[in-house]
Symmetry: C2
Subunit: 447 residues, 2 copies
């Protein structure tokens, strides 16, 4: 027997023996830091509060909800933690979706339960990332356009792979975990913009854990559930242009080193990030005063223009999808954080004044890495006195895998997200996460 499901199962079964290169460990740790940061930042969203109410029977010795706020059975905890990590759409990006919001809650909950070390948690995360990557490159047509939510589809299997690695399953048990997870893969693009989007992410993580536990208990799936002609890849394929038969090459490609993670620097739609970077830079370098600005021009893709449809936002919710607000805030505050994403900040006279000065132009180029974005974008600030400041071509947002945040910036994001969380010591937790691969047990994170 050989084939994709079997190959991936062998990769998972070997994952605990594989010595990870340092760059892969460093990227995985950033995934843990970012997922826990965004999990904490999502804690007050309605989707999370409602899940807590529905699932929240406390259990002695149960799994940690929101890093120690409460505890619940393992699948409930994973559901809540993962939905919270994605609730503000502030979590990291790669592999056609959001890997860490799915993988980290699944890995931590099960690692805690099994008493696994930090190094084992990192290896499990990398396993999940690797399996996810092996699946998502095989489809050449756009899955979102067909109706699928790739994070939730591939995430279920990635989470199962990660948890299978934690359990130390042999290849047969790992194969059953992947096959059962394939049975549980779901999630629709049509539900974007509703609470069902973070729910889908929570379900992916929670069912990934469940699939692995089922396999561990002796449940079986088909040995070719992923690549079979009536298996997962064929089922979700928009037009059958899916590569079901190529062998994987784990020795040649460590996807996490190759593709990395893009970490969002600002808690606002990712389609605004390059313009924000450009305007912060221009404002700082040229000591631009808001009052002297005549016009702000943003040049990006028609898709970005369509997505960012709120041209005169009055509330923070509207502002999250407004390039005009993003530009105004970048110039006014020199930064965009949670304190800018408030109704009162959006309504400020100076911000509203600048919003009216922003003009959009579109350019029809395409980024090969980032669906819907122009290849590059550009911002130009035109002053009342006629001077023009031009960002030039901006290829990657700060935080993109190709232009990573510094450790200092990642720490800032972590602290920003953990603000007001009084059941943890953010410095201590961040310190432990930065040293995750040397942690004796993941339970030490919250102890």
């Amino acid at each position: 027997m050989s084939g994709l499901t079997q190959d991936l199962a062998e990769l998972v079964a070997e994952s605990r023996k594989f010595v990870l290169p340092l760059d892969a460990i460093a990227i995985a740790k950033r995934g843990f830091i970012d997922a826990i940061a965004t999990m904490l930042s999502g804690r007050n969203e309605k989707v999370v509060l409602t899940l807590c109410e529905l699932h929240g029977r406390l259990e002695r010795g149960g799994s940690s909800v929101l890093m120690g706020l409460a505890s619940a059975d393992v699948q409930s905890a994973v559901m809540i933690n993962s939905a919270s990590a994605h609730a503000l759409d502030f979590d990291d990006v790669a592999l056609l979706g959001h890997p860490s919001a799915v993988l980290v809650p699944a890995v931590l909950a099960e690692a805690d339960r099994l008493g696994r070390s930090g190094a084992e948690a990192v290896a499990a995360y990398v396993s999940g990332y690797q399996v996810w990557a092996e699946l998502c490159w095989r489809e050449s047509d756009p899955l979102h356009a067909k109706g699928w939510h790739p994070t939730s589809i591939f995430g279920t299997i990635g989470a199962a792979a990660a948890v299978a690695s934690l359990h130390g399953f042999d290849a047969v048990t790992a194969r059953n975990a992947l096959a059962i997870a394939a049975s549980f893969s779901s999630g629709l693009a049509a539900n974007f913009g509703s609470m069902a989007k973070p729910l889908q992410v929570g379900m992916a993580a929670s069912r990934g854990v469940y699939a692995a536990r089922l396999a561990g208990a002796g449940m079986t799936g088909s040995e070719d559930a992923l690549e079979h002609y009536a298996g997962l890849l064929a089922a979700i394929s928009p037009r059958g242009n899916t590569d079901r038969n190529s062998r994987i090459r784990p020795q040649e490609r460590l996807w996490i080193s190759e593709l990395g993670l893009s970490i969002k620097k600002y808690p606002i739609c990712y389609a605004t990030h390059r313009a924000i970077d450009g305007l912060i830079e221009l404002t700082r370098a040229n000591a631009i005063a808001s009052d002297d600005i005549g016009q702000v021009r943003v040049i990006f893709s028609p898709t970005q223009a369509a997505l960012l449809r709120n041209h005169r936002p009055k509330t923070a919710l509207e502002a999250a999808f407004s390039i005009e607000f993003a530009a105004a805030a970048a110039i006014t505050a020199g930064h965009i954080g949670f304190e800018q994403m408030t109704d009162s900040y959006v309504g400020r006279a100076d911000v509203q004044g600048l919003i009216e000065k922003v003009e959009i132009e579109t350019i029809d180029t395409h980024s090969p890495n980032e669906l819907g974005l122009a290849l590059t974008e550009r911002v130009i600030v035109v002053m009342h006195d006629g001077r023009e400041f031009d960002s030039g071509e901006i290829r990657f947002a700060r935080g993109n895998a190709q232009l990573p945040l510094s450790d200092e910036e990642l720490s800032q994001k972590f602290h920003m997200c953990a603000q007001g969380v009084d059941w943890i010591d953010p410095d201590a937790l961040l310190g432990k996460l930065q040293n995750l691969e040397n942690l004796r047990a993941t339970t030490d994170l919250t102890n």
Copy 2:
């Protein structure tokens, strides 16, 4: 706002006011009887025992597992009960799948929890059936061939509709339940033949309940999650030949009355049932003695021939997919029940002797109602003395919606399935089920 999701939500919201015709109530009650019968008959399958072990923390006041054997939280109970009802593939058939194995456990668990009456449970079941029917006729290409398991895909939404009806949700809440359920719809044909098949059925029921409870707690999905161009129907459609826009006509079509339920009479692959009926009839009518038979000819579709691939079965597992065994047992025992589906019966000399006398012929006609079956099939018994007994064309198996089991036969099936179950009184339970629409509370079923 109008559209399929909204229309179905309104149907669900109205379902408690709608006065059901008697034939619909009668069919629904058969669904309850058959699902509970098969739930009991599946209780010792490995998939069920494993689920019980994994989920089986007993909870005071929890939901009933296997009609009173144990109790667990509602979603665990639904998962176990529904997987058990499908574990032997002996449960009823309609709507491209197995409606009652999904709907009945979901309805009963939530009706028990909410203290609903038998009539409300029946109305909820019909609601779930109706929504399921409205979805599955809209796709004109074969879903199984693309990779989907329609029971699990549509069942998730049907179960959510049924539970939404039980809760008495308004149209907006019911719409959110359907949209969230669409996010959770999954299940693969590639996993047929493994434990993941009944798991998929269990997941459909359990997630349907969960989706409805999430909506009841205030969670939202998109108002067009089913018919959106990136919604459920488009996502699963093999080639985009899906009708996403027709309005539903609940006043004109009560699908359950029109389509009914096909109930399996024998605990063996459905593709053998017509031949079994024919041979039992021929044997009885002509007082055929096994020893005098020279040959048994079975004429059916190439798909049936391929499916029933075990020509010389030695074990009960093999015999479940053997037309040769089915024919031999029908003639020898004049019936096929659990006592025939044992290794010792399969190995009996007279049965093995007859198995060798069975010949298969194929005919390339197609039943419009039943995927893969020939339009009709036929059995011919040729005696040593040259006489031939011919069944003629058999259009429907006994138990098919077009040729329903008598109440007496359904009771026999119930008792056969409940044999050895010592925590219920089968007569009392069956009596209550036959009177379900007059039951004060569904909890009375197990009290």
